[in-house]
Every structure is written in structure tokens, then in C-alpha cells.
């Protein structure tokens, strides 16, 4: 469904992404991990043409993103980015309705059908009861769900998530990712998530892409990617990798200096 074909990208001088190639199948849940500056966010940004790679191409259903208009891309690919705040507080329902924008074109006002779709998105994300609250009065977890609902209202085929769990407590981390997983499993949405949280990425993803210096270091199921050797090499710190006793997925423990 998404085909990244030897993509290289640089902002000015240095290449931030170098010859990155991979494919994402429909209905997959893919995690992108890697240290700061390894190119996770940049990679995500090339996937919805916020950035256009200087070399290589990104294809969606065999069609280059370069050949699609912004509106067409927005109907296929929704993004839940790191915290963005409107400069003036909109209400939750208004924020979610903005997800209908790609379908409205030059129309000024949403139709009852758009409202229905927004309502369903709010039902899924369980924010219907707070639909009239201004966005600046919500907690971090609630706000995350508003942005996921907005992405759902776009009726996309793919949702890209950039660090969806930062600034959330463990309860809200799990709650947000459970929601994303249910969209993946029950609605068949394809998910691509960049994350710093190795354990969550391992727990939820079907497949992991480990980036180092803008290149793919390793790619495959979490069991293959999340090994002590890989993580220590890429992140340059000592870790202990074992299995989550309940799920059996790889689990990374951080080690204080001098503890072996």
C-alpha cells in the first residue's frame, strides 16, 4: 500500500534520510524507532509530502505522492502529530469536524453527513461527552483522543502517528495505543507510528523499523529487531533485553552505569 523507494532527503547540507526503502502492507501496524536525529520524524513527513525527497519516491497504491494533490493525500493519509495547539481555542466538535476539510473542497459549511461522520469518530474515541468543551481545557490524554478523532473523521486508509505517547502518563499511553490498535484490528486501518518508547513500540507493532543516521539499521518483527545487540549499537547505551512476562514481546530495561 505504501512503498518507500530508496528515499534520500536533506534539509540543507547533510542527508537526514539515506536510501531508505520499505513497504507497508494494508492493515499492518508498523513502528519506527531510533535515537534522536535518526530521521524518524523526517521519514514520517515524507510519507504525506510535507517534505519531498530529493532522491527516490514515495508511492501510495502504486501512485507517486508527487502526482497527488494535497486534498487527495489528506483523504488517504491522516496524521496525528506531536502536540499542536490552535492559537485560539476551538471546541472539540469543531476540531473533529476539521477532519472533514479534504472532502469539503470549496464548500464553506459541513453537511449533516459530515457531522454524522465526526460523531462516529468521537464515539470511537469516547469523547462524545466532552464534544462541547474548548480544546484548551482538556487533559493531555483527552486532547490526544481529539486529534485521533480528527484523523478518523478524514476517513483515511493510513494513520501516521508521531510520538503519540509523549507527555502522557502510563494509563493514557496504554489507553491511546489500545485505541490505535483497535482501529488497526477492527477497522483495518494501516498504522505507522514513530516512537521513542521501545517497549510500547514492541508491544503494539507487527513490524519495527530501526533507524540509525537516516538509514534503516534493521527491519522485521519486534523479536528480530529488539535485540540487545541492535539496541546497544544504535542507541549507544547499555540495556538488558528480555521478554515481557505476560505478552512474551521483547522488553528493554535500562541499566545504570556500573550495573551489569
Amino acid at each position: 500500500m505504501i512503498e518507500v523507494d530508496s528515499v534520500s532527503f536533506r534539509y540543507h547540507q547533510d542527508w537526514v534520510l539515506q536510501d531508505v526503502s520499505f513497504q507497508v502492507r494494508k492493515g499492518e501496524f508498523v513502528g519506527v524507532i531510533g535515537p534522536n536525529g535518526s530521521g524518524k520524524t523526517t521519514l514520517l513527513k515524507t510519507l504525506y509530502r510535507l517534505l519531498t525527497p530529493q532522491r527516490g519516491d514515495v508511492l501510495f497504491d502504486h501512485l507517486s505522492l508527487k502526482k497527488m494533490s494535497r486534498g487527495e493525500i489528506a483523504k488517504k493519509i491522516a496524521v496525528v502529530a506531536q502536540e499542536t495547539y490552535p492559537a485560539f481555542p476551538f471546541r472539540v466538535i469543531e476540531m473533529v469536524l476539521m477532519g472533514r476539510s479534504p472532502y469539503l473542497g470549496h464548500l464553506m459549511f459541513e453537511s449533516p453527513k459530515d457531522l454524522e461522520i465526526a460523531k462516529r469518530a468521537m464515539e470511537w474515541t469516547e469523547i462524545l461527552p466532552i464534544s462541547q468543551r474548548p480544546i484548551d481545557e482538556l487533559s493531555g490524554g483527552e486532547r490526544k483522543r481529539v486529534y485521533i478523532a480528527r484523523a478518523l473523521a478524514q476517513e483515511p486508509e493510513v494513520i501516521l502517528l508521531d510520538e503519540p505517547t509523549t507527555n502522557l502518563d502510563i494509563h493514557h499511553q496504554v489507553e491511546s495505543l489500545d485505541l490505535v490498535l483497535s482501529l488497526n484490528r477492527k477497522k483495518g486501518l494501516t498504522i505507522l507510528m514513530a516512537s521513542h518508547d521501545l517497549n510500547l513500540a514492541s508491544e503494539y507493532s507487527d513490524r519495527l523499523i530501526l533507524l540509525q543516521h537516516g538509514r534503516i539499521f534493521h527491519m522485521g518483527p519486534p523479536e528480530e529487531v529488539m535485540t540487545q545487540e541492535n539496541i546497544e549499537k544504535v542507541y549507544g547505551c547499555q540495556v538488558w533485553v528480555d521478554r515481557n512476562p505476560v505478552s512474551g514481546m521483547p522488553r528493554v530495561s535500562l541499566l545504570r552505569k556500573g550495573v551489569h
Binding site: 510535507l50 494535497r70 485560539f88 469543531e94 477532519g99 459549511f109
Partner: protein, 343 residues
């Protein structure tokens, strides 16, 4: 579920339009020469209907040639400044932004001062024309410096605007320091905002222009909502962000230049009217823009009316009134946040 519909926008606009008409009527009945409200209205109606009747020639002149064009011009300028203020706040994503923040007003002021010093101030259109040209030049200079790699960066634009604006302020200061006394008074009055030279020609000149700019901006009202969450966020929802920024910058700047050129620098309107409207009706530009236009028009007409009647026959510059009454009112609104639940 309550959401914004066309019906609501039209209904609220009609309501605010009605208030505007009442304010205008009130305005033309007030002034240093007493013409009773009933008499003023009948003079106005008869002239609209093309009838002869009530009122002496003097009264007719006062109502029809002085007060009516003055109210119309104040209304247009108030609407123009309020709408462009709302747009600048969205474009720069900065609640402190107002129509003057990018230096258009300073450029217009330099143009006007040059015209006054060259003795063009007495020509019927010397002053507005010179000031409009000054504003236009500033728009292009700021635009030129405010771009990077062919794209508008709001912060760079803001910085370029503030710097160009302070350079122009230095020029203004220089001109003030070398001006003769009688020119000085004209300049100072212009800088504070002055409607005393209003006439129908000015109204006819800027009305189609402001109307065009308004509809150009209003056609993108929904996109302005999206860009409030940032450019990337708007782009993710399919907005052509660069085009939107270009349209909003040029549209709002030209609106400001046109408004300012007719009456000088009236402060505060473009800052507090959009904010007040947001506090009452919410931040959605589909309602914010028309509501700001009507409220801004009413507010400036009322301010100007106060300015010319409060210490009559002495006329206060309208900028004094907008700041003196608008400021405290805005603080009150901000503190109480009395958000009327119309939506």
C-alpha cells in the same frame, strides 16, 4: 449537536447589521448643531426617496454632506481594520497582532506626511493617494524581506514588519522634528486618526475595494480555522498553505492600506474588535469575519460620534476614544469571559 451553519452566520450577521444601522442613525442625529432625531431621519429618508420636504438648507447640508458620509466612512474603515486584524492574528498565529503590526500603517503615515509637507494635503486626493502608495510600498518591502526560499515564514515576516516599521517610525520622527507648526498640527491629527475630511467620494472609492478584499478573504474562512493549529496541521488536512498565506497577507494588508489612507492611524480597533467578537461568538472565521466587520463598523462610528460630541465644539481625535473606551471594555470582557452561548 450544535455546529456552525450558514443559517446561523446569516442570522447573526443580520442581527449585527441591524445594530449597525441603529448606530448609524443615532450618529447622524448627534452633533454640535442640534437637529432632532425625528427631523434628521426624515431629512435622510426624503433624500433617499428623492422627495423635497422638511429641513432647512443648513440642516440638510449638515446631515447629508457632513454626518452621513462621515458615518459611512467610519463604518467602512472600522470594518476594514477589524477584518484585517482578525486575518493578521490568524496568519501570524499571534493574539497581539493587529493591522499595523507589519508596518503598513507606518508606510502609509510616511506617505501622508510627505504629501502634507509638499503641500499636497489640500488637494482633494493628494493625501489619501500618497498614503496609500506609502502603504503599498511597505507591503512589498516587508513581503520581500519576510520570505525565505520563496515561502512566507510568519516569524520572519513579523520580524521584517517590525523592523521596517521602526525604520519608518524614525522617518516619521524626523519629519515631525523639521515640520513647521501648522503642518505639525495636520500631521499629528492624521497620526491620531481623523474623519473630519470625510466625503462621499472617499466612501465610493474604498467601498468596492474593501468589499472585494472581504469576499476574497471570506472565501478562505474555513482554511483560516485550520491554519490556527499550525501550517503543518493545515497541510495535513489538504490546505494549500503557501497560497493561503499569500492571499491573507496581501488581502489584509491592502485592506489596511486602503482604510488608513482615508483617515489616518486609528489604533486599537483592529486589535480589540476581533478579540471581543471571538470571546462572544468563538474563533470560527466563517462567523468571525462578518461579525468583526459589523461590530468594527458600529464601534468606530460610535467612537467617532463620541469624539465629536463629547467636548463639542472641540473635536477629539477618534483614536483617543477607541483606546479610552475600547481598552477598559476589552479588559472587562476578558476578565468576565461572558461568552454568550448563541451557537
Amino acid at each position: 449537536m450544535k455546529i456552525l451553519t450558514l443559517k446561523k452566520v446569516l442570522l447573526i450577521s443580520a442581527l449585527l447589521g441591524l445594530i449597525l444601522i441603529l448606530v448609524m442613525i443615532l450618529s447622524i442625529t448627534m452633533g454640535s448643531v442640534k437637529v432632532g432625531p425625528y427631523r434628521s431621519i426624515s431629512i435622510l429618508l426624503q433624500s433617499i426617496l428623492g422627495l423635497k420636504g422638511a429641513g432647512t438648507e443648513t440642516e440638510k447640508t449638515i446631515i447629508l454632506s457632513l454626518r452621513v458620509p462621515r458615518a459611512l466612512l467610519a463604518g467602512l474603515v472600522g470594518a476594514g481594520l477589524s477584518v484585517s486584524g482578525a486575518i493578521f492574528q490568524a496568519l501570524l498565529r499571534n493574539p497581539l497582532a493587529d493591522p499595523y503590526i507589519l508596518g503598513v500603517s507606518s508606510g502609509a503615515a510616511v506617505g501622508a506626511i510627505v504629501a502634507i509637507l509638499m503641500g499636497l494635503g489640500t488637494l482633494s486626493f493628494g493625501l489619501p493617494l500618497a498614503s496609500f502608495i506609502g502603504g503599498l510600498l511597505t507591503i512589498f518591502i516587508v513581503f520581500y524581506f519576510g520570505r525565505q526560499e520563496g515561502r512566507i515564514h510568519p516569524n520572519t515576516l513579523l520580524l521584517a514588519g517590525v523592523i521596517v516599521s521602526s525604520f519608518l517610525s524614525a522617518l516619521i520622527m524626523f519629519f515631525l522634528s523639521v515640520s513647521q507648526r501648522e503642518e505639525l498640527r495636520t500631521i499629528v491629527f492624521w497620526l491620531m486618526g481623523d474623519f473630519s475630511l470625510s466625503n462621499y467620494q472617499a466612501v465610493r472609492l474604498i467601498f468596492p475595494y474593501l468589499l472585494f478584499a472581504f469576499f476574497l478573504l471570506y472565501a478562505h474562512a474555513r482554511q483560516f480555522n485550520l491554519i490556527l493549529s499550525g501550517e503543518e496541521s493545515a497541510l495535513q488536512l489538504g490546505v494549500n498553505v503557501e497560497r493561503l498565506k499569500l492571499i491573507s497577507y496581501l488581502g489584509a494588508s491592502l485592506m489596511t492600506a486602503a482604510s488608513v489612507s482615508m483617515c489616518g492611524l486609528i489604533g486599537f480597533v483592529g486589535l480589540i474588535v476581533p478579540h471581543s467578537v471571538r470571546l462572544i461568538f468563538g474563533p470560527d472565521h466563517r462567523l468571525l469575519l462578518p461579525a468583526s466587520a459589523f461590530v468594527g463598523a458600529s464601534f468606530l462610528i460610535a467612537s467617532d460620534t463620541l469624539g465629536r460630541t463629547l467636548f463639542s465644539p472641540v473635536e477629539l481625535p477618534v483614536g483617543v476614544i477607541t483606546a479610552a473606551f475600547g481598552g477598559p471594555f476589552f479588559i472587562y470582557l476578558l476578565r468576565t469571559r461572558k461568552v454568550v452561548k448563541i451557537l
